[in-house]
């Protein structure tokens, strides 16, 4: 179905050297690198503000409102404070690993944004394997987390890092399977072409895939209710307990940059990216990213933290089989009925998603009780 639609769209040529850029490719590279770094930093500030204020209002509080009008400068004040703080390295720490960990964690998050289109063709590198690149690169951040846990020389940090590895390795599978559904429908791995082919947002075409991807993404980046590796009440911030000053700031930045990156990926894959009426495309992209991030904050405020066995059970007993079934159903639809109107599949797929969730909730048992999904 989508393959025929794709033929109508003229695919963007892979431009190694854009002709209209004076000086060739390097200007393009420098410009988008600066744009991406600025974008990530500004979006992280916005995200911190939305998270703290939104969460406060959901808990009947006001949130930070002392710094600047409506507390808008609070992230700036926090950043200044944290940068001026003393940098303490524990005596038992593995010094080099401890020092490298924040950088190893931060670099991949920035690299995710290289293939995310801000508007049609406006991206650092229009890789034809864009989404595969994201899947590959986003896992590297976990290495940074584990280095932090190991290098701290603290058993609780190591415990947090171990939990993180377990969660990321488990949730990678349903996440990738959910992505494959989208890739099959759109018929391309390039992020720009996935957006270009999305006449109907894939959240409607792939409702089950969206749910699986959203839950898996929340677990990937360790946001509540899956924030086991930070678990304030058990591990006191887990892997970054021993970090202070600038290095802690890096981890804090990574946490929110990852959330923004995942929101941007969800926007691109499921919410038709930069496409939208009236407003300029890049603004649509930012608005949609923030909406997805708000839903993440919303779930974080609502749901309590799961146990480690519930976390694993949810990944392997619930999300993984559903992702496989979703993949199978999508494959049949793409291969057998390529020419039917996509709106039929929208209705069919939403019905299938509802039925499957009901059915699996019936089957899904964990220990003595039943996890409420």
């Amino acid at each position: 179905m989508a393959t025929t639609e794709l033929l109508n769209i003229t695919p963007l040529p892979m431009q190694v050297t854009p002709a209209d850029w004076p000086g060739g490719y390097w200007w393009h590279w420098v410009f988008f690198t600066i744009v991406i770094i600025a974008f990530v930093l500004i979006m992280v500030m916005g995200a911190i503000y939305i998270e703290r204020r939104g969460m406060a209002r959901m808990q009947s509080r006001l949130g930070p409102n002392r710094t600047g009008p409506f507390g808008l400068l609070q992230p700036v004040a926090d950043a200044v404070k944290v940068l001026l703080k003393e940098n303490i390295v524990p005596a038992t720490a593995d010094k080099i690993v401890h020092w490298l960990a924040p950088i190893v964690a931060f670099a991949p998050v920035l690299m995710i944004f290289t293939v995310i289109p801000f508007q049609n063709g406006a991206l650092l590198a229009d890789l034809n394997i864009g989404i595969l690149y994201i899947v590959a690169i986003s896992s590297v951040a976990t290495v940074g987390t584990f280095m932090a846990g190991w290098g701290s020389g603290n058993k609780y940090s190591l415990l947090g890092a171990m939990r993180n590895i377990a969660a990321v390795v488990s949730y990678e599978i349903p996440m990738v399977l959910a992505i494959v559904g989208v890739v099959m429908v759109s018929g391309s791995l390039s992020m720009n072409q996935i957006v270009a082919g999305q006449d109907i947002p894939y959240i409607l075409m792939q409702p089950l895939g969206f749910l699986i991807f959203f839950i898996a993404a929340c677990a990937e980046i360790n946001r509540s209710p899956f924030d086991l590796m930070e678990a304030d009440s058990e591990l006191t911030a887990g892997f970054h307990t021993e970090y202070s000053g600038m290095k802690f700031a890096m981890f804090y930045l990574v946490e929110y940059a990852e959330a923004i990156a995942m929101s941007a990926i969800i926007t691109t894959l499921f919410l038709s990216g930069w496409r939208g009426p009236l407003l300029p495309p890049w603004l649509w992209f930012i608005i949609k990213t923030f909406i997805v991030f708000f839903v993440m904050v919303w779930t974080r405020t609502t749901l309590p933290r799961v146990r480690i066995d519930q976390l694993m059970g949810l990944a392997w007993k619930f999300l993984f089989p559903l992702a496989l079934i979703n993949l199978f159903v999508t494959a049949i639809q793409v291969v057998v009925w390529p020419d039917i109107s996509q709106w039929i599949f929208v209705i069919v797929n939403i019905a299938i998603a509802g039925a499957l969730i009901l059915l699996w909730s019936k089957f899904f048992k964990l220990g003595q009780g039943r996890i409420e999904v």
Binding site: M58, S60, L62, T299, T302, L303, S361, K362, E372, V373
Partner: protein, 167 residues
């Protein structure tokens, strides 16, 4: 078929949080806005009446912390005790109100104060005339219903919680 188990529970919870997002927050901006204190509040200071006090030192005996020190002298001309020194260390006070309950002549009351942080411990000690009642330190209605009747009723509702502060 209980639908709580099929994801409805999560949706209900999400509805609750979004309702809280849209309603007005229930906090006070403390230094600028204050809730009205209960008129029977047991504050961290004593209000003492020199006229009514006979120097019997029942309050000092009742105090579990030994925070009250009273020194009296016999006035032979008028045939009565006279209080030479009345000294309360509010650093020791646990605001139990036993001294107020013990006083047989209604000469002792609790105050309203709850922000009496000081830099030095001896600044917490109040003596003689510092303990007298004045408009800044009114007597609380604790154990004295006749005072409580006259005080304004307590309410936890302040006019409106706003973000703007008075500069």
């Amino acid at each position: 078929m209980k639908f709580e188990r099929y994801g409805i529970g999560i949706i209900k919870g999400m509805a609750v949080t979004i309702k809280h997002l849209l309603r007005h927050p229930t906090v006070t901006q403390f230094p600028e806005q204050r809730l009205n204190i209960s008129r029977r509040s047991r504050g961290n200071e004593l209000v003492w009446s020199r006229e009514r006090c006979t120097g019997c030192a029942t309050c000092a005996k009742a105090c579990p912390q030994g925070a009250i020190e009273i020194v009296t002298a016999a006035n032979m001309d008028e045939n009565k005790y006279e209080v030479e020194k009345y000294r309360v260390d509010t650093g020791y006070c646990i605001q139990c109100g036993l001294c107020v309950e013990a006083c047989p002549y209604d000469a002792l009351f609790l105050g309203y104060s709850y922000e009496r942080a000081k830099y030095r411990r001896n600044e917490l000690i109040q003596t003689d005339d510092e303990l007298l009642e004045n408009p800044e330190r009114p007597a609380s209605g604790y154990f004295h219903p006749e005072i409580a009747e006259k005080l304004p009723k307590q309410t936890l509702l302040i006019e409106k919680i706003v973000e703007k502060r008075e500069k």
